[in-house]
Subunit: 311 residues, 2 copies
């Protein structure tokens, strides 16, 4: 199958308590594309400026990524600078320069229109809606977002939520959007909008899968000795999640088995763990399915316990 993604490509300057990198490859679509292309064909819709290093495009081409939907415009690529606190969970934005991203309107090439899976990475909800309208026939649509859009463009975000199948969202964002202290109570508000599944990302604590049908699954995180840079971990999670689903057979149009959805969340956690192990997409560049398999088997050992009750 093939996966269409729309999202940001950026150059990031990152400070952690232990190291510093200038203008490295960043943006939600960079992480997602690199991760998902490990599994299947990715069709990218995005924009960069004339300053964007061509080596990044060459890298994705080598991985079979279709760049027909990439706009290259005169001017600056989206730039973000951030600094992580000691706990590596919280960060401050030091600088944001939209550059050519400020005038972006995604155009989906005709050759992408038959993409079976659609990932709306974290960008303005209006742009996500523009893509949804151009790819009406996707079998499965998955949405990511962030606190900024919940705060500033809530009505537009809600309209996008009403039109997708699965939402990826952090625990704090569930509370922010639903104004409910309980995640279990909060996710019901999403199901009222029509969503089928909600994946709540818990960072270093793993992820939860909730289904409108009552499905509940708690996926363990992969334990890391050291987090080098958590930037893009959620986007890489999306790449592992959709990448895995793309390789499976839906039980009916757009309906995946709960067992496959659980496995997809585990893949998301594994790919997210790799993303944290280096700056930018560096830990994902040479990742192989053999590496993913090893962590999958480790996670089975790390999280399964005797299913038989002994009272």
């Amino acid at each position: 199958m093939s996966i269409l993604v729309v999202g940001s490509l950026a150059l990031d300057s990152i400070e952690t308590p232990f190291a510093h990198r200038e203008r490295v490859l960043g943006g939600a679509a960079s992480y997602f594309t690199t991760a998902a292309s490990l599994y299947d064909q990715v069709n990218l819709v995005a924009i960069v400026g004339s300053d964007f290093p061509r080596e990044h495009l060459d890298f994705w081409r080598k991985r079979g990524v279709d760049l027909a939907g990439l706009q290259i415009e005169e001017g600056q690529t989206f730039f973000w600078a951030g600094r992580y606190h000691l706990d590596m969970n919280t960060r401050d934005t030091l600088d944001t320069q939209l550059g050519v991203f400020g005038n972006f309107h995604p155009v989906v090439p005709a050759s992408y229109r038959d993409s079976e899976l659609l990932f709306l990475a974290n960008i303005q909800p209006d742009l996500q809606m523009e893509v949804l309208q151009q790819v009406a026939g996707a079998r499965l649509t998955v949405l990511d977002t962030m606190n900024l859009w919940i705060a500033t463009t809530r009505p537009q975000l809600t309209e996008v939520m009403k039109r997708v199948d699965i939402l990826l969202i952090s625990e704090e964002e569930v509370r922010q959007y639903t104004e409910q202290p309980s995640i279990l109570v909060g996710v019901r508000k999403f199901f009222e909008l029509g969503l089928k599944y909600v994946v709540v990302k818990l960072g270093s604590y793993g992820a939860l899968l909730f289904g409108r049908d009552g499905t509940y699954f708690s996926a363990p995180s992969y334990p890391l000795e050291e987090v080098i840079d958590p930037t893009g971990a959620g986007d890489a999670f999306g790449g592992g999640f959709l990448g895995y689903l793309s390789t499976t057979q839906p039980v009916s149009d757009g309906q995946y088995s709960v067992e496959d959805l659980k496995r997809a969340v585990v893949h998301g956690n594994i790919i997210g763990s790799y993303a944290c192990s280096d700056f930018s997409i560096d830990a994902l560049r040479n990742l192989t399915m053999r590496d993913v398999k090893q962590r999958y088997q480790e996670l089975v050992r790390f999280s399964h316990f005797d299913p038989d009750w002994r009272g």
Copy 2:
């Protein structure tokens, strides 16, 4: 077998954003004793003042708890008042009155000396050491503590750690004691002291089991619609953990199988989840093994995924 516990019995005044209770039964040993006595015989070492309601003692007697080691002294029972923040994870102490607890020196009755399992609930490390010295023959010793003792009595706490088998500790306390941002790196410092296992309590995210032998296990939390009062959840966790172990057969003296230790952590999470469902020990009062079994089987469904890799 039988479980000896030493710890605080208290009267607590609790404020949450949604409700308020005055002078309800609290203290680490109250939660532990109530939880563990669901599984096995508990021998309690503690102190209360003459104001301590006799109904609490009657309740424990009915559950077969041995109170020969309970000192009842003229004066006030230990009193604590606290207020939870909106997130129900952080709290402020509003008042602490030690009362008779200020002069407490635990005395282990001769009839307790053959207790196979020993739980040193969260109290001053000096008092924990006094009990360790009186019960030299316990098959398994488990230690709980808190941030206060790490900050104020670190050398004494370290001496206790050197003499026990298993440490129960929160994630923040691991960082506080080891000064390591990484939990995986931090727990190694405990193994250097001689501990065999460390259980890291993650609150609403479950718990992690680390073994000096390389064991690693991530136990899911039981998902709660609503947290009424998280006070004592960690102590109740200890009661479920030791309670379950007490009913199992060690593979050799003081050595439990890794499978049983994993199950014990799951029991801890289940009992901890019940503790959060009401004020004081109220949700534990009428809890049955049938209830625990139901949550155990739910947690299997909620956390297990296809162990076979499909690449």
